[in-house]
Symmetry: C2
DNA sequence: CGTGCCAGGTGCCTT
DNA sequence: AAGGCACTTGGCACG
């Protein structure tokens, strides 16, 4: 049964409106649907959920926060943990709310008074359905605002690549970078260099821990370059990263892949990072 | 300046409390901190943010929803998209709110009246800091509830593995599964079988699209098994999956890795799935 | 803890 | 649309 806590508010950056302070079964679905796709919707209450698609997940009753964003992304969040316990990506074909009754016996909803609010979505692209049923709703609100999101990211792989192009000696003495993001049929090679002996060096850049898959990448690049360039004798392969497991290190050695350790976290704090207006106060960590 | 929209509410599953309806600069930090770690906190307002750690991300002003969960997970959500624009994992050592003033000139906060609310967190484990500054707060609420989360997942890789063990003929005639999750120094082999000719078959299971890295995995497993078992002549390698690109298919062939196509999405809906009480109504998709 | 690997991975970009 | 790959990948399981 929908709780008597139910309250429906609308937040804008200018004003707060109370849409409903008490239950209004007759219009709740219609009212919710009015905000779909134009506002971010939050429903907090006791619900269960089922996702069916790539996998099937069945979620028992619990108090959760359902967020329906403007682009129809759906997130069902619990009170702990980073990731939503269930979600639906944007691109749903249908997003329907309806009142259902909770009893096994299918009486008329208006007579039983056992209202449950059901959200059903279907995403044609992936053939995935998502259903949430609220047994209790504690609050409901719609949110709107200015969507100005300028994000600036520094210290990602692209940044490191640029930095190495500027400072090739970090890789090894007298190496020259001759290609960057070199296109092959199987992907792009981060960097290609010529060493002091004129040998080609295929370089794969990794910001975080090297994985076996990373090793494979560079092996395949060597294969494809040897095939395309037809110079089997002159190719070196190298992975540059900050961390590698011992096992994988020896594996690379066995397969004639060099590992060059560069501690990005030691280099990057020393690189003057671009500053943004009005955000100087934030840069307290490195000062 | 903190908005006059500011409102602080507390939601429980029994009752809604209005903590503040108007601004109270003096106590806002203290009041927020009172709920930290015990309630889920939501702050909706106009904010900027800086994350500094594995990467440095600087986020300009925008209207966003900040969620601080009970375990101190922090999510900064925009009005669109699945992933938060910024976040902090649980395990922060510090989580501090404080009022700062907005002007360049560092006057006394209480005199300028230009209050900004700053959230600063530091996560020692990863050396990551996260700062959010609200120029405007539209609403603030604390949420509590029953945290009962029983989730049941079917159709993941583990499920498929079990299903193949039960139905090995899906792989090929007269194959016997002799190992499951077989431990090697470089990882676990999903399945090991013996075919009708007594040959060992190393099997890698993939639920979704086969990637080049998956091919590498099975090649490495073959290498290590040949080394450990010392039977180079009797090893077959196989990837089982539902989908593979043409290029990769030929790559596998070149490297003597067999590909066995099994359409999981055709098999799994036909497997009677466990049903949960009270959720029968959800299972409308497959009926 | 590290190591390995799945994930309903998601998101971004290129062909 | 498919491929390729980075991501503050997150999360789990196991030695």
């Amino acid at each position: 049964m929908l709780s008597n806590l139910y309250e429906f508010t609308l937040m804008t950056s200018n004003k707060k409106y109370v849409i409903d302070i008490d239950l209004d079964y007759e219009n709740i679905v219609q009212k919710i649907e009015h905000f779909l796709g134009k506002f971010l919707l939050e429903i907090y209450g006791n619900c269960s959920a089922v996702f069916d698609g790539r996998i099937k997940s069945t979620l028992g009753l619990g108090d959760r926060l359902l967020i329906i964003k403007i682009d129809q992304t759906i997130l069902l969040h619990e009170l702990r943990s980073l990731k939503p316990i269930n979600w639906q990506l944007p691109g749903v074909g249908k997003l329907e709310f309806k009142l259902i009754n909770s009893g096994e016996n299918k009486q008329d909803i208006k007579q039983t008074n056992n209202y449950l609010l059901e959200l059903y979505t279907f995403r044609p692209k992936t053939n995935e359905s998502f259903t949430v049923v609220f047994e209790n709703i504690y609050s409901l609100r719609a949110i709107t605002g200015r969507e100005n999101s300028e994000i600036n990211i520094e210290g990602n792989e692209a940044d490191m690549q640029s930095y190495l192009v500027q400072n090739p000696s970090l890789i090894e003495d007298d190496i020259k970078i001759i290609n960057r993001e070199y296109n092959t049929p199987i992907g792009k090679i981060d960097l290609i260099g010529k060493d002091k002996n004129g040998k080609t060096v295929l370089i794969e850049l990794k910001k975080s821990l090297i994985t076996p898959a990373d090793a494979f990448q560079i092996v395949r690049y060597r294969e494809i370059i040897m095939k395309i360039w037809n110079k089997p004798e002159n190719i070196r392969s190298m992975i540059i990263g900050s961390k590698i497991s011992e096992k994988l290190y020896f594996y690379l050695k066995e397969h004639e892949i060099e590992f060059k350790e560069i501690k990005w976290n030691e280099i990057f704090p020393s690189i003057p990072r671009k500053k943004k207006k009005k955000l100087n106060d934030f840069f307290s960590k490195n000062t």
